[in-house]
């Protein structure tokens, strides 16, 4: 019995300690972005403002967590890697509208929610990776990827991946559902292997000769080409080139990474400060130079590496449309057995 009482006592202390850590001058972040990609910016933010940043990183499920936490959610800012999650946050009513003159001055209006629920921070192009040795052409369209020319030569990551879903959603917007299903079937039929791994894994597949062509985000390639920590990734990246799809037509599919101010943010002011900070020159330059993304603030340039990929002709399709087509895209992926 004595032990039982001690046990209860210890649990109580445990609670007390844990709650005590929730202090005033801080901001709580849920992040879909990988920790090492945002830590430098967050450290800079703490240096400049003295506000401590607490982060929970997870690849999936953060919006859902916010829904369940309801009005006692501790989170102030949600950082996402794609438009789908931004609009999820709005649809699930865990975001709040805010207006900031700093944000409005820094980020062009097409990259902000008209109702002020989310802010884009960077853009990323979903491009084609192609083998330098085995793919001669330097122009391509997404539509072509379903053609017989690529039979047994194509690799992608899971069709349910957020970046792929956004791309499929954009095709639904341009061509309609029926045509997109046919396209997905064609792409599936061209697969050299079951969809697996992340975007880097596809480049590795090109390096190994398993596939000739794939789809991925620009910054993965840039990160691999500059990877001094794992020099073998430089070899992989050297085997592939980037082709900007649909460059002469409607343009390359773009996705956004962005931020949402949580509906029940306990540290609302700090949350807004953090989002503002991420739109300022210093953070935007870090996004461009260290992460090789396309900064959204005008006047901040892209990295030399990204510039070497060629000029970007961005598809101007409305981001909200893409977000809205995601559920249908996800069902189509199951329907054609994309991941099987």
């Amino acid at each position: 019995m004595f032990r039982f009482v001690t046990g209860c006592f210890m649990v109580a202390t445990f609670c007390a300690l844990s709650i005590a850590t929730v202090r005033a001058s801080e901001v709580n972040v849920y992040s879909y972005r990988q920790p090492y990609l945002i830590e430098p910016m967050l450290e800079k933010f703490t240096d400049e403002t003295g506000i401590k940043v607490n982060v929970l990183f997870a690849g999936k499920g953060l919006v859902d967590k916010m829904v369940q936490e309801g009005d006692s959610s501790p989170v102030d800012v949600l950082l996402t890697v794609d438009i789908g999650r931004l609009s999820d946050a709005v649809n699930q009513e865990v975001s709040q509208s805010f207006s900031s003159s700093v944000v409005n001055a820094n980020i062009p209006s097409q990259y902000r929610d008209p109702d002020g629920h989310w802010v884009g921070l960077t853009a990323r192009a979903r491009v084609v990776y192609a083998s330098i040795d085995r793919v001669a052409q330097d122009e391509i369209t997404y539509e072509e990827l379903a053609g017989p020319k690529w039979a047994g030569r194509l690799c992608t990551r899971s069709g349910q991946n957020a970046y792929n879903l956004a791309l499929f959603a954009s095709l639904i917007a341009h061509h309609g559902e029926a045509e997109t299903i046919e396209w997905l079937k064609g792409v599936k039929a061209n697969m050299a292997r079951t969809p697996q791994g992340n975007d880097r894994g596809q480049v590795k597949g090109i390096f190994s000769g398993e596939c000739d062509i794939s789809i991925g985000n620009t910054y993965y390639m840039a990160k691999m080409r500059t990877n001094d920590k794992e020099p073998e990734q430089k070899d992989w990246a050297a085997s592939a080139k980037i082709i900007m799809p649909n460059a002469d037509g409607r343009g390359t599919h773009m996705n956004l990474s962005g931020a949402v101010l949580a509906k029940h943010a306990p540290n609302q002011d700090n949350g807004i400060k953090l989002i503002e900070f991420l739109t300022e020159d210093i953070a935007q330059e870090m996004y461009a130079e260290t992460n090789h993304e396309y900064p959204l603030k005008e006047g901040v340039g892209i990295s030399d590496m990204v510039a070497s990929f060629g000029d970007l002709n961005a598809d101007t399709l409305d981001l909200i449309t893409i977000a809205n087509n995601r559920v249908v895209a996800s069902e189509m992926v199951d329907l054609v057995g994309y991941d099987e």
């Binding site: 039982f4 210890m10 844990s18 929970l56 349910q160 079951t194 390096f207 920590k229």
Partner: protein, 551 residues
Amino acid sequence: MKALIKNVDIKELLESLGALFIAAIIAIPILTIFYMALSSEKNIWPHLSSTVLPGYIITTLIVLFGVGLITLVIGIGLAWIVTVYNFPFRRILEWLCLIPLAMPTYIIAYTYGEIFDYPGFLQSSLRFIFGWQSYKDYWFPDIYSNGGVIFVMSFVLYPYVYLTSRAAFLRQSISLIEVSSTLGYSLTSSFFRIALPMARPAIIIGLILVMMESMNEFAAFEYYGVNTLSVGVYVTWLEKNNLSGAAQIAIFMLIFVFLLMIIERKLRNKRSFVQKNNNTLAINRVQLVGLRAYIISMICFLPILIGFIFPSIVLLDFIIQRYYEIDIIKYLQLVLNSIYLSSFAAFLTLVISIYLINVSISSNNFIIKLSIGVSRLGYALPGVVLALGIIIPVITVDNFLKGLIGDVFGISMGLIISGTAIGVLYAYIVRFLTIAYGTIESGFSALNPDLGAASRVLGRSRIQTLLGIQLPIIKPALIAAVLLVFVDSMKELPATLLLRPFNFDTLATHVYTYASLSSLEDAALPAMTIVAVGIIPIIFINRVLMRSIGS
């Protein structure tokens, strides 16, 4: 007199309520899953069942069958060899065969990804030796496949079959086998005609443990792109934001694991009847000599090599190559977090188990029996399903507490359970209570019941008897319980991943995060730490086993 009877009744009532309370805590996640599955706002069942669900089920069955078959062959084979033959290094190999248990399935999966992958050591060497240029110049098995996952999981799970079948061979069959050999049977035919059939219940228990572990696995499947039911739950929940769909898939898993659990319980009860015959004879092992003896030693060494040594070399190699990049402060923080959670879990499951045993000694009424039965179900819950079943009740309680505290004290609190590591702790208790309880109970049932009675007659109360006499005697069982829960909590991944609070990573979640970013090398030290800690209970358990079997 009347007052006394009333007192006793009240005491029993309180104890029954206590046990019931514990059962309720364990049952909440299971009930939640059923509730969520039945209360879906939009019916996605037709979509699930017509598209992905059959695939999830078939893949799960393929993996279970494959892992089951390989673990049976390796586990029984090794157990038989070390029981009936004597060969060089037998004594050490006999316990080294258990060591792959220390290797979590997800870690072996990650390391074999490194070994077997195209740029990995194996294929690079082959290309270098044979002058091949690319993937198309040769055939090499794809590790990221059903077969790959079956292979890697089998080599860390076979010890379950090995343990139970070795114990069975040692305890039951040896004298019979000796008799059969005097009657002219060869060892091989004794094996098939006598040893194997007699050991069947024990072997099946080992096999069921293997299958339960396979059902619980998640990270290895995700990493290898093998879409089993646990991956299905995860994807449906977190990628499609569909809680009730995830719960519906989870129910398939629950039905399956409960079925396994029932078979296991039935067999265990049967086995205890056989086990009463405890007079172990000295075994006259067949002495192997010459080359054949060394070949047998090599064969026994092979599973250890594949299941433990190769993956450890991969990790150690990463650590040595990049020792200068290791962030010691961060690493220590991870270690502390893991120890913190695991020791809490071990302590709490110990206390709860002792309480349940104490209650069941005093009064074994229907409610208590039922409560204990329910409390032991938690182990059946795969980690992903457990997290799914915990998250909603926990947040409901949190919001209730927040409202209550806000009303009464006028202060606004954060989330007490989900905002802290208590949710994770809850998951550990639900899942690992059976391990602690089972271990302690088996220690208890070995005690002479007269001991307790004598102590009571001599005037000690029941609690005094328990704490002062019975528990000290079964100290090895208590230590085993604490160790097992500690290590299992440390290895646990899916529930920790899904329930942890801000800024809170354990060794396991850190390894998962970096492995899924394809940079296992940045998490090699934490991974190796989990493995190293996992060795401790294996050494301890082996010593206890050896003593009890007396081989």
